[in-house]
């Protein structure tokens, strides 16, 4: 073997070895890159699936926040309107009481007061009864004997109506109480209004809240 052949052979051995070494390292790098890509994609897929669910939950929560705020505001709106209506209706009843107060200063009222006393006494079942009136009505000259007779006729029970010693704090009407205190009938004008309030409120609402112009 000539020297040049020998050198060529050595060079080939070394070149082949280098080529194989480079290829081995190249394959490894490629494999490593593949592993990294695979893991990146795996993580991306898992995270995106979870993220989608996270966003869906957040969107649901968002819808719920808005719907709840709207519902609460509508409840508050209805409450504001209802509350305002109640205030205005109260003003009407206060005005009615004021007018009734004025009315109790007229002669026309005497007849009504007597009918309230009689009706209350009949409801109490007759007997010995005390009638409480306001301090103004206390001064009126009411026909207690005639009223007692009328109650007696209606109830069949011997009846004695008398003014109570202490006046009542009322705009008008009467409080009727048996002398033993077992029976009491409130026939004041305030009580009368309260008893009729539920029937009157829809009528008042219709007048108040219907636009006329």
């Amino acid at each position: 073997m000539s020297e040049s052949h020998q050198e060529a052979l050595i060079k080939k051995i070394l070149d082949d070895a280098k080529k194989e070494a480079d290829e081995t390292i190249g394959r490894s790098r490629k494999t490593a890159q593949g592993v990294l890509e695979e893991k990146r994609e795996e993580a991306q897929k898992k995270a995106e699936e979870e993220s989608e669910s996270l966003i869906e939950t957040a969107e649901g929560q968002a819808r719920s926040i808005i719907e709840s705020a709207i519902a609460n505001s509508r409840i508050r709106m209805n409450w504001m309107i209802l509350s305002e209506k109640e205030k205005i209706i109260d003003r009407v009843f206060n005005e009615v009481k004021r007018r009734l107060g004025e009315f109790t200063r007229t002669n026309e009222y005497d007849k009504i007061l007597e009918s309230l006393i009689e009706e209350g006494a009949i409801a109490a079942g007759g007997g010995e009864l005390r009638v409480r009136l306001n301090s103004y009505d206390y001064q009126r000259n009411l026909a207690f004997d005639r009223m007692s007779d009328n109650v007696e006729k209606a109830t069949g029970v011997r009846t004695m109506l008398k003014k109570a010693a202490d006046p009542a704090n009322t705009i008008g009407g009467a409080l009727i109480k048996s002398t033993d205190g077992k029976v009491a009938v409130d026939n004041t004008l305030e009580a009368l209004i309260e008893r009729r309030r539920k029937d009157l409120e829809p009528k008042i609402s219709a007048i108040l809240f219907t636009k006329t112009d």
């Binding site: 070394l14 390292i25 966003i55 009615v96 009729r196 108040l208």
Partner: protein, 110 residues
């Protein structure tokens, strides 16, 4: 002479084998490091996407709170207008309603 040449060739072959062994060692090291890196890449990728999703979710909820407040204010403003209208309509009719009730109570007793 021949022996010398053969010895030299064997020597070169040995070096070549050593080079290959070294390359294999390096290749294994690359793959081993890639396994470790893969876990890090997985964790980082996962954490990054989840972080962005959480931020987006927080933003959605935050925006909803602002929108909800806006909607609520609109409704309350509308309620205030309704109440004002109601008050104005009622104001004109209070005397009429009071008169009606007064008459009903008085006539009820007569």
């Amino acid at each position: 002479m021949v022996d010398k040449v053969l010895a030299e060739i064997r020597d070169v072959e040995k070096r070549a084998e050593e080079n290959l062994a070294e390359a294999l060692k390096q290749a294994k090291k690359i793959e081993r490091e890639a396994s470790v890196d893969a876990i890090r890449v997985y964790d980082e990728t996962y954490a990054d996407i989840k972080k962005r999703a959480r931020e987006k979710a927080d933003e959605i909820v935050k925006k909803a709170r602002v929108d909800a407040e806006t909607e609520a204010q609109k409704i309350i403003a509308q309620a205030e207008v309704e109440v004002k209208k109601l008050r104005e309509t009622a104001e004109k009719n209070i005397a009429k309603a009071a008169e009606q009730v007064f008459k009903e109570i008085i006539s009820y007793r007569k």
